[in-house]
Symmetry: C2
Subunit: 682 residues, 2 copies
């Protein structure tokens, strides 16, 4: 049974960064968060960045029973406890909520930990517990050491100090077994270098940099500087700003320290840089990164503010062998990368999602862009719905759980690792011969029994820039049950404009792959029907090719290309009931590259219908496409010929053809790529 | 809608005394207690002493939903918050329980108060929050003023201080509307002068006097005096001992102060005497009351103990106009009265109770004394069960709720205000004529429609002394719906020895009664059946009289006494099926007193049966008894002649007879009394 670190508030600002550090340090993590002040999208992005799934539980810490369920389900060896309300100002207006969330929440967490013999905890405290250290006179307690007496001046700070007291008493009641690390943060700033995770304050930010960054992207008019008459070189107060990634690393150091400890332990550590910066210094550093002077106004001092709150971090430096390594400039540029790519944090207008089933593994993600509406699932990175001006373009189950039906004919799914057929499931690569699952006797079809249509993709990362939405999923195709060589990092990125859904596939062997090469062939298996009818009959198609691959009795190409005489290139073909296809068309015989993304999108099909107000144009960068009239569809809600498929991809069974195999062989260090576009005219 | 003060922990030591003070100051009270460290019997006794019912809810403060139900059901105008765990030593061993109970509990309570716009609270704090005030050097902070800095030295004290902090922040968040009084207790001691309420520590007492009193009654060997080498005149530490009744009164003063306050308020007050006493001084004072030297041993100092913790109570003296009035000697004698009458507090061996229905109003109380087992209900102060060596002697419903059945023939109930019949429900008293409900046309029977058989009695107070148990119920028969004049304080006291249940009735007009006289006639209406059979047929009775009251067609005595020729006095009468009685027998023609309790118990019936191993002897102090063979019984589980009744009482319709009326007229200042005994031989 593998061991987990349970992180409360793991979807929050510092929590999410710490989870990433835990993962990159080899810890397995469970996230518990009530999402009251955070977003699940942060978790989805953590999974995307970390390339792994993370057990998530939407649980409020005050709910002992729900908490107990988590502790029973997993072997938890330690807890990092972030979950808390944290707005100083708000805490004075609604103190009960703060005491209830923070103090009750912690007590309940500790009860659950005790009941399940989990006695290691790292607690997210704050320098706020020290209160106004200038009360000790000139610099006696600056920089602030851990032994500085505490005297928090607001309910938020008091909850943190109360929790420290409670932890200390709990430790004292069983000194042999509890190990507790109290981390007192100074001023966290910055964001994850990936630009995918960062601070996403709800409402008006309370802290300098989040506010400043919102000024930079135009969400706020100007920064208010609270007092420039302090006794500092530029008159603004001095704080100890620490990069959130350094802060996160401090938790790993503390956790490791506790785990190494041979006896029980209760210990406080300051997490700060030891170097103070004024508000103006931060302001200028950030303006430099943004590349312009941001508007600000000096206003009166803020109640409770003091001149200098700089940490003395030497205890953490020495005992935890931890030290802040990043500077203000790193923090500012990371923050700006995050903010400019995610101006509204995790929340995007015209994007919404809902859970499918009973956990967050599979969600339905809907993007509305003008007249276009499209819904994707984590399951298979499927296109569940695609409609334009209310006209449905693709077939899909209304209930996302139906995608697991045995009769599901690959509706809208990403197809991989190898789309279409492999003769007898056999191929050889670098002198090794492979046998993969023959799921369509005698061949392998669409990646075998555990093809991508059966997988839960991670993410998505959803962004919007200049009116174009991107929805990007990730799948690690590892330890292929069907026998494909190597572990594949697969990205499926959907770009949604107001009239087009473009799909970009990108795949590469994972770092340190055990094999030098594998085979890849990805496509999307949407069934199109632009009519209001139960079948696509009499849809008029203009096909960009009439060259088809001749196939043997097992639907495997013979190597010959022949001309389909029923079709004249780009001339209307009325697909009446008697016209049946399940055929590979050749777009070009020249493509031998593993990454076609650089190629021009080529129109391969235009579809229209007398009963439809819209036209569908399908293009791709791929050398071939499978045209299937869907004659054999027979599933919940959809019968024969309810939709037709156009599956742009590499040649069928290319791997077993000397001439075509380089289309599908992906070597270590190289990138497989392809693009497909569904454009709607109407 | 009447207004209530909600008292949390109202079943506890200080809580119960405060509830009594609230009631005697005209407040209506709701008690909320989880009974985790207290007993409902305390509440029953409060009701008994206060002569009124008190809404009680067994609710844990951490259960918001249950708490909300209480606030929704009643108009609460203020809260006095006692509920807490309070053992200093224990708090260091199980701190989480202390933080959870005390801090969580208070936060949840405050949330419920806020949600229901209840913003007045008196909080039960403790001098413990000051910690070791000797840290300030010689007497700088002794006697201890409220402005003394706090620094509790144990988890218990910390929970109290945290709660003060939370309250202060909640107040600060809405200063206009919250009024909060923080009462910091010094050392409560003593008990209620009634001897019915007092401290009932579970396990080994932590405090001096409870421990000492247990030494006095032999529950503990000897007192341990923790250190006699302190710098006091006799070497033992000095504390400020305050009589619990004075302490309780402090809460009323604080509550009144808060209610008078025109603006919001948060204020701490010490509740102490201002006069310190040493351990030895207390020891000697208590020994004096007990009348002998109690064993003690001087042992080492106790960790955390300090020389002197005396209050400076002047703030409470001045602002609350409150002052401790009782001294150590009062406290000691009150404590001793309580302890000697209740050596094991509220818990009695061989006495147990269970709730009937869904609240505490009606409980079934069982006393086992040797071979005798008897069960009473609050409902009607009924004898539900009476058995000897497993032989059932009386009839009663197995399910206590069945006593409300329309067909219930007064099984085992107390009968009142006037037992038996009143002709046409008419009588005149001091020139006023009264008409009471004619519930048995044309007469009034057994007190009318809302006779005592329909009432919930308060209590009981259960005690044991030298092998005799007493179970005493109280009923205030007020605003008689049936039209009887005046409000009657009625006590029904059962004395249970190993072979006899004796009933004592006592009634008097309430203090300040609006009428000068009323009429009373009380009895018990048990149906006897000493056989294993479904009827009492062939029971052999020896009756002490064959003089019966002649009655008219309405069963009202004509005034003549006649001889029943079927009966010879004290000779066996075999009560065969054909012998039917519902007849008043005369025991004496001489009794004219309203209180017969002083009279000798006179045997009136001896019952035996060939199928029974036991004999039943019924005696009373009453001048007459009704003999009923139960021919008309027809109810759940019991048919005709399932039991016979012997109802000792005053003459039937005495009030309407010039000759007999003084038997039933109770004048203001006088006491009605009677005794009945059921003795079992076997």
């Amino acid at each position: 049974m593998s061991e987990y670190i349970l992180v409360t508030g793991g979807a929050g600002y510092i929590g999410s960064h710490t989870v990433l550090e835990l993962l990159s340090n080899g810890y397995k993590v469970i996230i518990v968060d009530n999402l009251s002040n955070s977003s699940y999208d942060a978790v989805a992005r953590i999974e995307f960045v970390a390339k792994q799934a993370i057990p998530f539980f939407k649980v409020d810490l005050r709910d002992y029973d729900q908490l107990a369920v988590v502790f029973q389900a997993y072997k938890v060896t330690g807890v990092i406890h972030f979950a808390a309300l944290k707005a100083v100002g708000e805490s004075s207006q609604i103190p009960l909520d703060y005491y209830d969330n923070n103090v009750n929440g912690t007590i309940t967490l500790l009860r659950a930990m005790k009941a399940h013999n989990v006695q290691t905890v790292v607690f997210s405290s704050s320098a706020t517990v020290y209160g106004d250290v200038t009360r000790f006179g000139d610099n006696l307690m600056i920089p602030i050491p851990e032994h500085c007496p505490t005297d928090p001046t607001n309910p938020y700070g008091k909850t943190k100090r109360m929790i420290e007291n409670i932890l200390e008493d709990v430790y004292a009641s069983d000194k042999a077994n509890w190990t507790m690390g109290i981390l007192r943060y100074f001023n966290p700033m910055g964001a994850h270098p990936s630009g995918l995770i960062g601070e996403d304050p709800l409402g008006i930010p309370n802290n300098l940099l989040p506010y400043l960054s919102q000024v930079a992207i135009g969400r706020r008019d100007k920064l208010s500087v609270f007092g420039s008459d302090y006794d500092s070189h530029d008159g603004t107060p001095i704080r100890d700003y620490i990069h959130v990634v350094d802060l996160a690393k401090g938790h790993i150091s503390a956790l490791n320290y506790l785990k190494k400890s041979t006896s029980g332990l209760y210990r406080e550590w300051n997490l700060g840089t030891g170097k103070g910066s004024t508000v103006f210094e931060i302001y200028h550093a950030f303006c430099k990164v943004v590349g312009r002077e941001l508007p600000y106004e000096v206003v009166g001092r803020r109640a409770g503010d003091v001149l200098d709150l700089t940490a003395n971090p030497s205890r953490a430096n020495e005992e935890l062998e931890w030290k802040a390594e990043l500077g203000i400039d790193d923090a500012c540029s990371d923050l700006w990368r995050w903010t400019s790519a995610n101006p509204f944090g995790f929340n995007l207008d015209n994007y919404s999602w809902k859970i499918v089933g009973d956990n967050y593994e599979n969600r339905a993600h809907t993007v509305e862009n003008g007249d276009l509406s499209v819904t994707f699932l984590n399951h298979g990175a499927i296109i569940q719905k695609l409609s334009y001006k209310g006209v449905s373009v693709v077939n899909g189950y209304e209930n996302p759980q139906d995608y697991s039906l045995k009769t599901n004919p690959f509706f809208g799914t990403t197809v991989g690792r190898v789309a279409n057929r492999i003769a007898h499931g056999k191929f050889s690569l670098n002198g090794t011969s492979y046998q993969v699952t023959q799921n369509e006797h005698p061949n392998t079809l669409h990646g075998g029994l555990s093809g991508y249509n059966t997988r839960k993709f991670l993410g998505p990362v959803v962004k919007e820039k200049e009116g174009i939405f991107t929805v990007e999923f990730y799948l690690k195709d590892a330890d292929s049950p069907d026998g494909f060589p190597g572990n594949l990092d697969t990205y499926v990125k959907y770009k949604i404009s107001q009239d087009t859904v473009e799909i970009e596939y990108q795949a590469s062997l994972e770092d340190g792959s055990s094999v030098d090469a594998t085979i890849v062939n990805l496509t999307n298996h949407s069934y199109f029907n632009i009519t209001p009818n139960s079948t696509h009959d009499n849809t008029i198609l203009k096909l960009a090719s009439n060259q088809v691959l001749e196939v043997d009795e097992n639907k495997i190409p013979t190597g010959k290309t022949i001309t389909d005489t029923r079709i004249s290139v780009n001339e209307p073909l009325k697909v009446t009931k008697d016209i049946n296809y399940d055929t590979a068309f050749v777009v070009t015989k020249e493509s031998h590259s593993i990454d076609t993304r650089g190629h021009e999108l080529q129109q391969i099909v235009e579809a229209s219908h007398p009963d439809s107000k819209i036209k569908l144009v399908i293009s791709s960068t791929e050398p071939a496409f499978q045209f299937y009239t869907g004659d054999y569809t027979d599933t919940k809600g959809f019968g024969s010929r309810s939709g037709f498929c156009i599956e742009p991809s590499r040649y069928v069974d290319a791997i077993n053809s000397e001439e075509w195999r380089d289309q599908v062989i992906l070597k270590k260090g190289e990138v497989y790529g392809a693009r497909i576009a569904y454009k709607i005219i109407g």
